[in-house]
């Protein structure tokens, strides 16, 4: 029996009380570890997003939104000057429009009034849910002035003309794989198209089949697979084809410039802004990443405050408990001092008692942290992202899809997008956060337990030092 074993044994003198203390501390430490796990997971995600965001710059017509670009598009002439700027390795240009199925009624969609209102023989495979307020096409549709959808309504088909269908310049987002046929040539006016397997199935199309868009006939050259619902309802054609058949010769609604290195990203962004003046909005991938991870930064802050709060709460709990215990054992402390124990030794014994409580509480808290870390992280990220997305996408219409393929026949929906600046697609992946419990978490848990025990024992130690054994002798 020594001071340590005596302290440990004292922790269990009153079973019911000890159990209560340990449960309360377990919950407190569990909350702090959960927040620590969430914070770490979010920090890792932010780092991953920033490191993978790439070296691209998105260029859109100034103030562009909701397919209104028909009156203020960029031009291929403007973008050719951008392509010739130093450190710009490539400029991927797209022209996007919406087509309405021939014979269907077309209500005035909120935030999507200015399109060419061209027609197509295709029927979109995308199902529509009617919403009363703002939303994104493919998920919810809202109608100007309210009212209900006509019975013969079908969702519009988004048509995207791009000069580089094979280029994969996106960072994250919906992935699509070309499963049959081949890529179209993005620089030729060839009236060829790539469609999703869902679009093909819905319209009984296969490779070589034709369909109409505007007044032109297009041939299916490639079919891709994707799980992204919006992507399923799109048609990809070459930029010259889209410019020709939509009657928007030389118009471009979006461009993504690639820069040779991250070091030059900022200077090239400035150079493009200077080149295009007030006619374009220029956003670098770095800025987009910062915008995209903004909700995660909020989660990080929330987690940090909760972590500190939980540790402080734990310390206060231990402090009050230890003060109560010292007051209860006042006579015993006096006796220990009378028979030769020093103040330090008695304090140490009580500190061991407090550490015993907190270490057991930490073990329980670790269990809670492991169990709750992932759900709490998801909940915090989802709530934060939803709140931020609602702000950014309010009034949004049909999202534009931009394709960039690679020679591996895989292409992704880019973040440098048209609507919502592509942030939405990054956000889709932000919720995919893995909360892991590593040695660092265990170490933090142990440190938190010791900090709680030591700070919680401080007031008790002062009380112990003040107890005079002579006074205790009189309390008979």
């Amino acid at each position: 029996m020594n001071v340590v074993s005596r302290g440990i044994r004292n922790a269990f003198r009153n079973g019911v009380r000890s159990l209560s203390i340990i449960i309360i501390l377990g919950l407190s430490l569990g909350l702090s570890l959960t927040m620590l796990i969430a914070r770490q997971a979010v920090a890792q995600k932010i780092s991953a997003v920033k490191s993978s965001i790439g070296t691209t710059i998105t260029i859109t017509p100034a103030g562009y939104s909701n397919f209104s670009s028909l009156n203020n598009s960029l031009t291929t002439t403007q973008l050719s000057k951008v392509a010739s700027l130093p450190h710009v390795t490539n400029v991927n240009e797209t022209l996007t429009d919406r087509l309405f199925t021939a014979g269907s009624s077309v209500p005035a969609f909120g935030g999507a009034a200015n399109t060419t209102r061209g027609q197509t023989s295709l029927t979109s495979p995308v199902k529509v849910n009617l919403g009363n307020r703002g939303g994104r096409f493919g998920r919810r549709v809202f109608i100007d002035g309210g009212g209900s959808l006509p019975s013969n309504f079908t969702p519009p088909v988004t048509i995207v003309g791009t000069n580089d269908p094979q280029r994969l310049n996106s960072l994250t987002g919906a992935q699509a794989t070309l499963t049959s046929g081949s890529y179209i040539n993005g620089n030729q006016d060839n009236n060829q198209a790539m469609i999703s397997s869902q679009m093909a199935s819905k319209n009984n199309l296969k490779l070589g089949s034709t369909f109409t868009a505007y007044s032109a006939t297009l041939t299916v050259k490639g079919i891709y697979e994707t799980s992204n619902r919006a992507l399923q309802g799109e048609v990809v054609v070459s930029l010259p084809t889209e410019q020709a058949i939509s009657g928007q010769s030389s118009d471009v609604t979006n461009a993504v410039a690639s820069v040779d290195s991250l070091d030059n990203l900022s200077s090239v962004t400035s150079a493009i802004s200077k080149q295009l003046g007030s006619s374009a909005d220029v956003t670098s991938s770095e800025q987009q990443a910062n915008n995209a991870v903004q909700p995660l930064n909020s989660v990080k802050s929330i987690a940090l405050f909760s972590l500190v709060g939980a540790v402080v709460a734990g310390s206060v709990i231990v402090l009050l408990i230890m003060v109560m215990i010292v007051r209860e054992r006042r006579r015993e402390i006096g006796v220990l001092k009378a028979i030769g124990s020093s103040n330090v030794r008695v304090m140490f014994q009580f500190m061991v008692e407090a550490v015993t409580f907190t270490v057991i509480g930490a073990i329980i808290g670790l269990g809670i942290g492991i169990a709750a870390g992932q759900p709490v992280t998801n909940m915090l990220v989802t709530n934060s992202a939803n709140s931020s997305t609602t702000q950014n996408l309010a009034g949004g219409g049909v999202g534009r899809l931009y394709y960039a393929g690679t020679n591996t026949q895989t292409f992704k929906r880019p973040t440098g997008g048209f609507f919502g600046r592509g942030v939405g697609s990054v956000r889709n992946t932000l919720s995919d956060i893995k909360a892991n419990v590593g040695w660092v978490i265990l170490l933090y848990g142990l440190i938190a337990a010791i900090v709680i025990a030591v700070t919680g024992s401080a007031a008790a130690s002062i009380l112990i030092a003040r107890i005079r054994p002579a006074e205790v002798m009189r309390v008979e």
């Binding site: 006796v335 028979i339 030769g340 124990s341 020093s342 008979e476």
Partner: protein, 221 residues
């Protein structure tokens, strides 16, 4: 030899300054069995506390073998209490969640005695005070008052102190058990040459000690 000279202790009370001990002086030879008697509030416990270095006197001196105790630092007082003083209290004051054996081992732990020696010595002492068998592994709550006081005496003797200071050691016991405890203290003081100072109300006990001091209103009569 214990020499107490003009020992005075005053303290502040709600009603003003109270003099608990008023220039008390006496000498006690080594190995003597001494009783201090007096009414409640006469200063008996205060005298015991000062002799045990639990508190300091307002004035006066205490000398043990030519060593002045009133000038000791707090750290020196702890060390002195640990090795030179053994306390026996009226209410036993054993640590409730430790066994009899562990209670006796406590002062030896504070004195830095190795664990094995502590166990051997504690068993020996418990045997001397008549606590044997499985009782030494029992906690105080499962022992009688007399048995608890025996443990307290064994604990007081643990570090072979110069003095045992007993504050009403038989106060909570019936007369028969009280007599046994008194006899035990008496025998141990003789066998171990320990000076025992007992504070008591019991005049029959006081009559059997080597020396008796009577306190009244803080003064030695």
């Amino acid at each position: 030899m214990l020499k107490v000279k003009k020992l005075t202790k005053t303290f502040q009370s709600g009603d003003g300054r109270v003099t608990a001990l008023n220039e008390v002086s006496f000498n006690i030879d080594e190995g003597r069995f001494v009783s201090v008697i007096g009414k409640s509030g006469s200063g008996k416990t205060t005298l015991l506390s000062i002799l045990g270095t639990l508190e300091k006197p307002t004035s006066g001196t205490i000398t043990v073998d030519n060593r002045e105790l009133t000038g000791l630092t707090a750290k020196e007082m702890v060390a002195y209490r640990c090795k030179q003083i053994g306390f026996v209290f009226q209410g036993y004051n054993l640590v409730p969640n430790l066994t009899a054996l562990e209670n006796v081992m406590l002062p030896m732990e504070f004195a830095g005695v190795p664990a094995k020696q502590r166990i051997m010595r504690a068993k020996e002492l418990l045997d001397q005070v008549g606590l044997v068998g499985d009782k030494i592994q029992r906690k105080p709550g499962r022992l009688s008052g007399g048995e608890q006081q025996r443990i307290a005496i064994a604990r007081a003797l643990a570090n072979q102190p110069k003095f045992i200071l007993a504050d009403e050691p038989t106060g909570n016991l019936d007369s028969e058990t009280g007599k046994k405890i008194f006899d035990l203290l008496h025998d141990l003081s003789k066998s171990q040459n320990t000076t025992v100072i007992v504070v008591t109300h019991d005049l029959s006990i006081a009559g059997k000690t080597d020396q008796t001091f009577k306190l009244e209103d803080g003064k030695l009569l």
